[in-house]
Symmetry: D2
Subunit: 415 residues, 4 copies
Amino acid sequence: MRSAPVAAERLAARYDAVRRATERIAEPLSAEDCAAQSMPDASPIRWHLAHTSWFFETFVLARADAGYRRFDTRFDFLFNSYYNAIGERVARPMRGKMTRPDLGEVLEYRAHVDRAVARLLEREAPPALELGLNHEQQHQELMLTDLKHLLALNPLRPCYRERASTATVPAAPLRFLRFEGGLHAIGHDGTGFAFDNEGPRHQVFTQPFELAARPVTNGEFLEFVEAGGYQDPQWWLSDGWDWVVAESIRAPEYWSREERGRKVFTLAGELDLAPSEPVAHVGFYEADAFARWAGARLPREDEWERAAAGLPVEGHFAESGELHPRPTIDRDASAPAALFGDVWEWTASPYVAYPGFRPASGALGEYNGKFMSNRMVLRGGSCASPGSHLRATYRNFFVPTARWQFSGFRLARDA
Amino acid sequence: MRSAPVAAERLAARYDAVRRATERIAEPLSAEDCAAQSMPDASPIRWHLAHTSWFFETFVLARADAGYRRFDTRFDFLFNSYYNAIGERVARPMRGKMTRPDLGEVLEYRAHVDRAVARLLEREAPPALELGLNHEQQHQELMLTDLKHLLALNPLRPCYRERASTATVPAAPLRFLRFEGGLHAIGHDGTGFAFDNEGPRHQVFTQPFELAARPVTNGEFLEFVEAGGYQDPQWWLSDGWDWVVAESIRAPEYWSREERGRKVFTLAGELDLAPSEPVAHVGFYEADAFARWAGARLPREDEWERAAAGLPVEGHFAESGELHPRPTIDRDASAPAALFGDVWEWTASPYVAYPGFRPASGALGEYNGKFMSNRMVLRGGSCASPGSHLRATYRNFFVPTARWQFSGFRLARDA
Amino acid sequence: MRSAPVAAERLAARYDAVRRATERIAEPLSAEDCAAQSMPDASPIRWHLAHTSWFFETFVLARADAGYRRFDTRFDFLFNSYYNAIGERVARPMRGKMTRPDLGEVLEYRAHVDRAVARLLEREAPPALELGLNHEQQHQELMLTDLKHLLALNPLRPCYRERASTATVPAAPLRFLRFEGGLHAIGHDGTGFAFDNEGPRHQVFTQPFELAARPVTNGEFLEFVEAGGYQDPQWWLSDGWDWVVAESIRAPEYWSREERGRKVFTLAGELDLAPSEPVAHVGFYEADAFARWAGARLPREDEWERAAAGLPVEGHFAESGELHPRPTIDRDASAPAALFGDVWEWTASPYVAYPGFRPASGALGEYNGKFMSNRMVLRGGSCASPGSHLRATYRNFFVPTARWQFSGFRLARDA
Amino acid sequence: MRSAPVAAERLAARYDAVRRATERIAEPLSAEDCAAQSMPDASPIRWHLAHTSWFFETFVLARADAGYRRFDTRFDFLFNSYYNAIGERVARPMRGKMTRPDLGEVLEYRAHVDRAVARLLEREAPPALELGLNHEQQHQELMLTDLKHLLALNPLRPCYRERASTATVPAAPLRFLRFEGGLHAIGHDGTGFAFDNEGPRHQVFTQPFELAARPVTNGEFLEFVEAGGYQDPQWWLSDGWDWVVAESIRAPEYWSREERGRKVFTLAGELDLAPSEPVAHVGFYEADAFARWAGARLPREDEWERAAAGLPVEGHFAESGELHPRPTIDRDASAPAALFGDVWEWTASPYVAYPGFRPASGALGEYNGKFMSNRMVLRGGSCASPGSHLRATYRNFFVPTARWQFSGFRLARDA
């Protein structure tokens, strides 16, 4: 990652804004809501609150501030996520079983770190601070998706935040935009912050292709479901089919079938499935199977980035507070709509290093590079991503079966 | 179970005493401590608080009080433990993932049930009330052992309740008492409350035997550990050996080995292992292996009951607040010491029905009878059992690998 | 086990008869049929052929004959079943993956051992020989049941041995015989061979009881199946219900449902289910659930033995070559029919040591004693047991879910 | 796949040559060796013999020859590998439990198919025949690697084929060759047979790079092992590290450590590890970790193909009968040595579709396309590959943990 020169006062304000945004996510929740872990891939809200502070403590304060006194030295063991170079840690599936420190103590820990960072920022702009803020924004999104996964388990069908009823908008008709082939450059050019995995910028040769102007909708995906798509192996990659059979997958995560029709669990509780909204919470295998069934394919990440290059990072992000994708409004005939926000978009690209990739040195080198196998790239951010966190070159990545993010997709085809 | 005629006022007082005792266990704990589930066999404290209330609601109020209004009808699904006849329920390993209702709501639920029971007791003494109280006392013990298991996972080594330092008493020398063989009766005679599995009282023919005057101590068990007892298959039942190998079992639960010697995790935090205390938190396989190594055996449950018959139910129970076994004081040459309290004692007897056993009808018939396979009988109660809950005929039962109860044992041998 | 004085010539003839009977079981089989292992609980036929020879080599020849030269010293590792005192061995589930030595070499191994035993018997009657022969007879039965389990997996539905069509006999009406309570002795009295777990003979006090005159039939069990017995938890022990749900158990092993009605896989291939035959291949949980549904219970092992005491060991055994249970003919109003042969009968008794039990010393002490947990006792032998191998005091034992033996049951009830 | 015009007589000769080569692999083996399955990923030799015949029956004879009579219609169920479009089949891990048809019958099945193909080739050159032959050649390699995995389990350490002792040649010093960047084309151009996944040929833009002139040797890999490479997470991808820990991986498959030094199991039995031979039987994670430790990386598949383009397909293949990699002789300063044969070479490229890829229609479309997730590409063939089967464009693929193939790697680095 490369840290741009930013004035310390602006950094302090940004630090404060990001930290407060994290805490606002936890505000409506009980200690219990903040304590539980729904599955090994997810973490308790309280753990996120603490881990993001540990990150600043470990990679900023302990390195930049010789006089810094750690809040509790045992927190390395409790709140290290996966940095082998830092040492041993609580096994991931055990995070929900750590009942101490409690929520009050974790909030004190946050305040302790915040005071130390504020003092530090009076003197200097430490190199890893910007990374720490981007890291915390990633965890803001995870807090929302982990919380959704947790609440969905509860038969009381809890509501986290009431949703202003969106007047139902019909989905724009599906159209494709054509892109010419040839050599073009992808990857981050080094201006402003980016994660290490976004570079180096490099040339790729692309065939001509077409990209859908909007993501696939619930209504379109429902057709696949009702046409027996989940029961027919011809649409599926072999590993995907094994997964569908082993886990009895029949629909996107959070969809259910009740007497009165299809329902979907949201952060506003259980609602009727809205056909015009982008489909969310599908895994890569489902996106890929749908695309094959529809006679199309998923875009490669360089195709996606080429289409997004030069477009403003605008869309429907976490800041709206809706925390649910909106139907796509497709106004501009010349550009794809909703590339940013609403739903992360699965691509056909395995997550691997760009040519010439060099991970950061030390423990921070574990941030991205070590996950470069068995994961697929997603692009564009979601309705749970902070908008200021996204870029056209941003590479998110998950295993193909992951469904608890707001993950959808758009179609592509060979031109 | 048979409910003796008890005056309603006395019942109301007893009801109140038992319910308050349950809540006192939770009092020092945070919402987080009450929310987590350490393993599928254990439950969250908050679940225990709710489930014991659900028991009164379901088996007392809903049956005796036509006008009773349930606190929340959805709680059947949330707080039914294992009664198939009542219907579907949250899968046991998921209890720690239910973050709603929170602790405050559960305490309101308790108060709601308490008010209704109080009103009911003004009119009548409902048949299942005594069962409900005994059921709640069982859960008081489970709350303490589940809590211990949970806190032990935390690297902060939390202390639940400070323990008054017991002056270290040396263990009494091990001696055996002889009992003659012949026909004698075991099982509950129907006077006062008993669980269905304690009857019918019936005759058994016993060979002469000898029974140790006190339970095996930590010091004695440590000899077995240090003699390589956990590495030598000759002492173990085949299933026990498979378990030792598969789980890498090397010592009783909660024992650890640090630089400065053997430690043991207790509800007062981590302490030095005290050789004179009865060994606790061993499974049946370990008790059985130790006995074979020591040239002895475990007593059968009829032998244990014969030795306990007629003795007062006195000992070291939960009421002391110590929540840890005390060294046995062996004062009476004519009777075994510490049969009641300190540690549950594994017997050599599989848990099966007594001849003529009839489970209660309806859902309550699931209370005991359906567990009559693959479990071994333990007798006598522990330092976490309410003393008023125990009897010489009381049959506790666990699978042979269970170690999270205060379970120890005493030796026997053929005479 | 106690070995009676037997003249060496008679021993040699008996040795020869038992060894040849083993080989006759393998005769109609291909090398492939002899090589495969259908599940960890079962073993390849070739392994049985070798292991029974290893038993004589290890416990007879190596101990009695100083000049004996082992066929191949590496066979200890390959053909030791579970004797920890003998040393390391091939893990049980791997037996089917050992392709060397092949069938021809194993038969040479048998001949090598037979020659050495023959020489030895000219000089003496070694103590463990009788045990070796009984051991081999146990393996004869396992060869048949392991083979049945293996062939049942094959969609070609192979036939091992054609079965002379038994004229269908209706099942005798179900009647119960009454036995008075009181003190009586069970266990082997030391006359002739017995396994160590059959003794010591000792007194038990029994309540009066009634025992069914014949085993439960397929027709009766089918009523339970069709009444939804496998779908209703009220009939099942808790562990049994968990097993039924987890494994989707719906009928006895080897039953299938086809268009033209119920079928059952047998060693003669797939046949129509015959209602009058004793039900076979049920586990303890199924037997127990049926009994509860039928308003009865399983007999305890002392009840069974009391009923069998003094009766001749007659019935339908492996010697008939039919290898399938026959309908019970109930001719004698004063005694239960078919106690011996046809199907092993599950009892309500966990397999534990008799009072005063002492296992044999050394490795042979592992023969029976170490399995005394989590298993239930079966009595009487089956259509796959050699008749000469059985006794009224004989205690077979399996875990409650085991179904690949010819295991059935008869009902009992309190008198 | 595209079938080139080949005269029928030449096809018949080629058919015969391939089929006989398959049978020669099985010739030295017993029925037992041909029957067992060492793990779910491997198959019994007898299954390979049958499945390759089923392939011709299903995709050639049943489609081209209206009068063809199947040998046994039930073989579809037994010998279909993974073609969902053909129907249900024996679950993969069960292949070793199918003891019928036996080896003799399977050889008759082969002869039956061969006669029908011979008759057919008198009339026409059916389209899928060439695919069937390439398919059978793939299975020839799998027979050898599956056999090696099976024999390695046996404590008798069997020898499949004696190996002429190779005079030990020192490994050539490691040198790198530079390749310029730019646009170039990869993929098969349609001349002669190729699998569908090798096309379409298309342009890619490559950065300049360097490629090692030979594969990594045992001696080099041993340095990594002895430097603690398997104990240090910094070298490993996260999923690779999890695998190393969970499976206790410490060295390449088939390596063992004995008193007298490192040994390696081969198809000639257990031999001393030869430092100058290419390392084989490593997974992708190990190759990738070694490369990182060595300050290099694995080549991408387009880099590998660029280096191999235009080189003759020469090297050490299965035809030599040695079935073990030879030390690389690096004679030609201008080209990498041993690109073909000896060991398959892991690349850094996930196995995905080339731009414009279209799988074959019908069941044959399942041949390659459905495996395009979670697998990495290997290039070049091994000492167990038939030489006539290989091409520079050939894409082999396995999951990153697969080690039972002769899989090694060579290093690359950015220029």
